[in-house]
C-alpha cells in the first residue's frame, strides 16, 4: 500500500508552469529520491506537499487523508516530519530545548503556563539526540553549532513526533562530501529501523544512487522518469536533461573536423 500519493499536482507562477500534472506515490518504508536539474520544480513540489504553498490543482493524500490546503502545522500533526533546505533552529534555545520544543508541541502542551519547560520531556529529547550523535551538545546554545551539526539536530527535531513520513528538502545541501554520506547513512538506518517512509530531494548523485530505493526525475515541471538507480542511469530522457543531446555543439564539432 502507498503512504503518500500525489495526484496530478500543478502550480504556476505567472506564466511559468513550475509543476505540471505531477503524480507519484511513496510506498510504506520506501526511501524515495526526487531529482532534477535546477528549476525542475522540486522545491515547489515539496512546498506544496508540506503545506507552505497551495497547489493550483491536483491533490495530495497521506494515509487516506487529503492534505491539500492544510497548514504546515496541521500536516505535521498527521505524522509528517520535515527538514528544511536551509537548516535553522531556534537560536535562543539550547540544542536539547530545540528538541523538547517539538516534543512539547507533539504532546499538546504548548498552552501550559506554569511548569518549567526545561525539565519536560528531557529524557526523550536526549534519547533522540543520542540517535543522531548529538547528545553531548544538548546543553549548548544551538546557534553555536557547525552547519553539519545543525542538520543533525534538525533531524532529531523531525523525528520528535514519531513521523511515518519524512520530507527532506536537500538534506545535505551545504555539507562536505564525507558529512553527506554520514548523514544520509544515518537517516537510512533510522528509517529502516523505524519503518518511516522518506521523500527527499538531492543534488549529490553519489548519495542518490547509493541510498535511494527508487528515484523519480522532474524536468521543467514534469515527471519524466520513475525507477531504480540502474533504470534512471540509462533513461534516455534523463540523460538528455542532465547532459543535453549534444546537438548544440554538433554543428560546431562538424565545422571543426
Amino acid at each position: 500500500m502507498s503512504d503518500l500519493s500525489i495526484r496530478a499536482l500543478s502550480k504556476a507562477f505567472g506564466g511559468v508552469r513550475a509543476v505540471n500534472e505531477v503524480s507519484f506515490e511513496v510506498k510504506r518504508g520506501e526511501f524515495l529520491a526526487m531529482i532534477g536539474p535546477n528549476g525542475a520544480g522540486k522545491s515547489t513540489c515539496f512546498n506544496m506537499i508540506n503545506g507552505q504553498l497551495a497547489p493550483d490543482s491536483g491533490s495530495i493524500w497521506f494515509e487516506q487523508k487529503n492534505l491539500t490546503g492544510l497548514a504546515p502545522r496541521e500536516i505535521w500533526r498527521l505524522g509528517v516530519g520535515r527538514t528544511f533546505q536551509v537548516a535553522s533552529t531556534f537560536g535562543s534555545m539550547t540544542v536539547g530545548e530545540n528538541v523538547q520544543m517539538a516534543l512539547l508541541s507533539h504532546a499538546n502542551e504548548i498552552y501550559r503556563y506554569w511548569r518549567p519547560a526545561a525539565a519536560m520531556h528531557r529524557e526523550r529529547a536526549l534519547a533522540l539526540l543520542d540517535q543522531v550523535g548529538m547528545r553531548e551538545a544538548a546543553d549548548r546554545p544551538s546557534r553555536e553549532l557547525a552547519y553539519g551539526d545543525v542538520k543533525r539536530v534538525e533531524l532529531a527535531i523531525a523525528l520528535a513526533n514519531d513521523p511515518r513520513l519524512l520530507l527532506m528538502d536537500e538534506p545535505t545541501a551545504g555539507m562536505a562530501p564525507r558529512e553527506r554520506n554520514d548523514l544520509i547513512a544515518l537517516v537510512k538506518r533510522l528509517v529502516v529501523e523505524q519503518g518511516i517512509s522518506v521523500l527527499f530531494t538531492e543534488h549529490s548523485m553519489d548519495v542518490v544512487f547509493a541510498f535511494a530505493d527508487r528515484i523519480i526525475v522532474l524536468a521543467r515541471g514534469r515527471l519524466i522518469a520513475d525507477g531504480n538507480a540502474a533504470e534512471i542511469r540509462d533513461h534516455p530522457q534523463v540523460r538528455e536533461v542532465y547532459f543535453g543531446t549534444g546537438k548544440t555543439f554538433a554543428r560546431a564539432a562538424g565545422a571543426a573536423s
Binding site: 537560536g91 534555545m93 539550547t94 523538547q100 508541541s105 504548548i110 503556563y113 526545561a118 520528535a160
Partner: protein, 628 residues
C-alpha cells in the same frame, strides 16, 4: 445638510489632503530607500513652519513670504542632510527598533531646541501676499490660499513622479527602493544616494510646514501630531509609494471632512456627533486598510532587511546569587516605609517606580521573547486606568472591584487589538499598535460625556485600608511583585518557549505544529492584562487619570525603559524601569529642557550601549570571569 454644503466640505478636504501629502511624501521616500522610519519627520515639518514664520515676519512682504517658503525648504533639506550624515549613517545596520528610537530622540531634541529659539508661545504668520481673498464656491467663501493648496499638492506629486521616472537620480531611487543591496553591488555610492534622498525628503517636509504658515500658528505640539498623520498616510498608501501617499492623503482628508459635514446625527435612541470622531476616523481607516492590505493600498511586501543584532543566549533559571539579590531587593523595598518617615516623597517615588516596573516588564514580555515591538503599549495602561476610574466615577465601585476590573478591561482591549497586530510584523506591527493606542487615546479624549475629555476623571482615591500612603505602597509592591514573577514563570513554561520559538523562526515553529499567530496573540493579551494592573494602580495612586498620561509619550517611555535595561535579558526591564522612573521623577523635573535630556540619554543608549544596562553588566562580568 444640503448637497452643496457636503461638496464644499469635500473641497476643503482636498486642501487638507495636500497638507497631509506634504507631511507624508518625504517620509515615504526616505523609508523606501533607507528603510528607516524617520519619526523626526514631523519635527522637520514643524521647523518648516517656524522658519517660514521668521522669514515672513523679519523680511516681510512678498519676498519674505514666498521667497521665505522656498528658502525654508532648502534650509530644512540641508538640516536633514546633516542629520543623515551625523547620526543615521551610524545606525543603518542596527535593529529596526533602535532606528525608531534614535529618530524619536531627535524629536525630543528638536522640540527643545525650537522651544529655546522661538519660545513657547504660538506664532501666527501673516496672510499670504497676493492670496488674501476668498472666492465664491457653492455659495460659500473659499480662501484663495486653500485653492492654491488644492493645486500645489498634485503639482508637486507630478514633478516628483516625472523626476523619479525620467532622471538618473530618480532611477537610482527607484532601484534602491526595490533592492538597495543590489544597487550598492552595482557600484552606486550609497552614502551619497541616502544623503540626497534624506535631504529631498526633509526639504519636502520643510516645504509642507512652510506652506502652513499662512493658515495655522506655529506650535510646539505640531511635531507629534504631524508624524501621527504622516504614519497613517504612509502606511495606508504603502511605504515607499508616492502616488499611494497622495491617494491615502485624499482618502483620509475626505473621511475627516465628511465626518465634520455629517455632524450630529440622531439615531433615535442615541445621537452620534460625527464631527467629534475625526481623530478616531483616521486611525480606523488605517486599521481597516492594514487588515485588508497589510502593505498599504499601493505598497508591496518589503524584503526582510537583515539586522545584525547579536543573537540571544538561552534563558536560564535564576542563579542562587540572583535569587538572593532579588530577596534582598524585596526586603529593602518592604522596609522603605521605615526609611520614608523622614522624607515622605520616597514613597511616592517608590510607587511610581513599581508601576513603571510592572509596565515595562509587561511590554518586555511581548517585545523581547515575543519579538513584537509594540509602539502602543500605553493603550493597555490607559484601558486599565480608565476602566478602574470610570467604575469608581459612574458606579461608585469599591476600590477592590475597580482594581480587579482594570486588567480585565485591558485584557479585552489587548485581545481585540492583538488579533490584528499579530498578523503583521516589524515596522507595520509597530505602526498598527501605535494606531490602536491613538484610537484609545482619541476615544478617551473625544468622548467627553463618559470620560471627562481632556480634564480626565478625578477623585479616584483608594479606600480603607489602603487610604494611607504606606499601605497603598505595600499594595503596589505586592501586586507588582506578583505580576513580575508571574510573567517570568510564563516565560520559563512551555508557553514562553513557544513564544520564543515563533520569534526565532516562525517557519520552523509552524513546521513543528505551533500555531505562531495564536501563541503571539495570547502573549499580547497577557501582556496587555498585566499592563492594565499597572494602569489601575496608577489611577488610584494619583487620584485621577487624564488623556495626556496615556498618550504616545508613555508608550515611548516604556520602550526606553526596556532598552535601557537591556531587551535581551529578563531582569533588564526591571532595572531599566527603576532607573528611568527615578531619573524622570528627580532629574527631569528640575529642568525645563527635560526632553533634550531624555533624547540625549536615548541617543547614548542606541549608539554606545545597545545591550542596555544589564547587557553591559553581563558582558563586563563574563569578560572579568574569563580574564581571571
Amino acid at each position: 445638510m444640503t448637497l452643496s454644503a457636503f461638496l464644499f466640505q469635500a473641497l476643503n478636504g482636498l486642501s487638507a489632503a495636500s497638507g497631509l501629502f506634504f507631511i507624508a511624501v518625504g517620509l515615504s521616500l526616505i523609508f523606501g530607500v533607507t528603510r528607516i522610519v524617520n519619526i523626526a519627520h514631523g519635527s522637520l515639518y514643524m521647523l518648516g513652519t517656524y522658519i517660514a514664520y521668521s522669514f515672513a515676519t523679519k523680511i516681510g512682504g512678498a519676498i519674505g513670504f514666498w521667497g521665505g517658503i522656498v528658502a525654508t525648504a532648502i534650509l530644512v533639506g540641508v538640516f536633514g542632510a546633516l542629520i543623515e550624515i551625523v547620526l543615521l549613517r551610524r545606525i543603518y545596520r542596527s535593529p529596526e527598533l533602535f532606528q525608531l528610537l534614535a529618530t524619536f530622540a531627535l524629536v525630543l531634541v528638536i522640540n527643545d531646541a525650537t522651544l529655546w529659539i522661538w519660545g513657547s508661545e504660538d506664532l501666527l504668520g501673516p496672510r499670504a501676499p497676493g492670496l488674501r481673498d476668498a472666492v465664491e464656491v457653492l455659495d460659500r467663501r473659499l480662501p484663495t490660499y486653500d485653492l492654491f493648496l488644492i493645486v500645489i499638492g498634485p503639482a508637486v506629486l507630478l514633478v516628483l513622479h516625472l523626476g523619479l521616472a525620467r532622471t538618473r537620480f530618480g532611477r537610482l531611487v527607484r532601484a534602491a527602493t526595490q533592492d538597495r543591496e543590489m544597487v550598492g553591488a552595482l557600484g552606486v555610492n550609497q552614502a551619497m544616494l541616502f544623503t540626497a534622498v534624506f535631504a529631498l525628503g526633509s526639504a519636502l517636509a520643510g516645504l509642507g510646514g512652510a506652506l502652513q504658515v499662512a493658515r495655522e500658528p506655529a506650535n510646539l505640539a505640531t511635531d507629534l501630531v504631524a508624524i501621527g498623520d504622516a504614519f497613517v498616510v504612509v502606511v495606508v498608501g504603502g511605504m515607499g509609494s508616492i502616488t499611494g501617499a497622495y491617494l491615502a492623503a485624499v482618502i483620509i482628508a475626505e473621511v475627516k471632512a465628511i465626518c465634520i459635514a455629517v455632524g450630529v446625527v440622531d439615531f433615535g435612541y442615541f445621537t452620534v456627533n460625527f464631527s467629534k470622531l475625526t481623530l478616531v476616523a483616521e486611525f480606523l481607516v488605517m486599521a481597516v486598510v492594514l487588515i485588508a492590505r497589510p502593505y498599504g493600498l499601493l505598497g508591496r511586501a518589503q524584503g526582510q532587511v537583515r539586522s545584525i543584532a547579536e543573537p540571544e543566549d538561552p534563558i536560564r533559571p535564576a542563579t542562587p546569587a540572583l535569587k538572593m539579590l532579588a530577596a534582598v531587593a524585596f526586603a529593602l523595598l518592604l522596609g522603605l516605609p521605615l526609611l520614608a518617615q523622614s522624607s515622605p516623597y520616597m514613597l511616592i517615588l517608590g510607587i511610581d517606580v513599581l508601576i513603571a516596573v510592572l509596565f515595562a516588564t509587561s511590554l518586555h514580555f511581548i517585545m523581547g521573547p515575543g519579538g513584537m515591538h509594540s509602539f502602543g503599549h500605553a493603550a493597555y495602561f490607559g484601558l486599565g486606568a480608565y476602566g478602574a476610574a470610570l467604575l469608581v466615577k459612574w458606579l461608585a465601585a469599591p476600590m477592590g472591584l475597580a482594581l480587579a476590573a482594570a486588567p480585565l478591561v485591558a485584557l479585552a482591549g489587548a485581545l481585540l487589538f492583538g488579533w490584528f497586530a499579530v498578523r503583521l510584523s516589524g515596522v507595520y506591527l509597530a505602526m498598527l499598535t501605535l494606531a490602536f493606542a491613538q484610537i484609545v487615546w482619541a476615544a478617551v479624549f473625544q468622548w467627553e460625556y463618559l470620560t471627562g475629555g481632556s480634564n480626565g476623571v478625578v477623585g479616584v482615591w483608594p479606600t480603607a485600608p489602603f487610604d494611607t500612603r504606606v499601605s497603598y505602597y505595600l499594595l503596589t509592591l505586592t501586586l507588582a511583585a506578583i505580576g513580575v514573577l508571574m510573567l517570568r514563570r510564563f516565560l520559563f513554561a512551555p508557553f514562553g518557549y513557544a513564544m520564543r520559538a515563533g520569534r526565532d523562526s516562525a517557519l520552523r515553529a509552524e513546521a513543528i505544529g505551533i500555531d505562531v499567530k495564536r501563541v503571539h496573540w495570547l502573549g499580547f493579551a497577557i501582556a496587555g492584562g498585566v499592563c492594565g494592573v499597572a494602569g489601575g494602580l496608577f489611577a488610584f495612586a494619583k487620584g485621577s487619570i487624564s488623556p495626556e498620561t496615556i498618550g504616545v509619550g508613555r508608550s515611548i517611555d516604556g520602550l526606553v525603559m526596556v532598552l535601557l535595561g537591556g531587551i535581551q535579558t529578563l531582569t533588564g526591564p526591571i532595572v531599566g524601569a527603576s532607573v528611568f522612573a527615578t531619573l524622570q521623577d528627580t532629574v527631569m523635573r528640575q529642568t525645563e529642557y527635560w526632553r533634550a535630556l531624555l533624547g540625549g540619554i536615548i541617543l547614548l543608549l542606541v549608539l554606545a550601549f545597545p545591550g542596555g544596562i544589564v547587557g553591559a553588566l553581563e558582558k563586563f562580568f563574563s569578560r572579568w570571569k574569563t580574564a581571571s
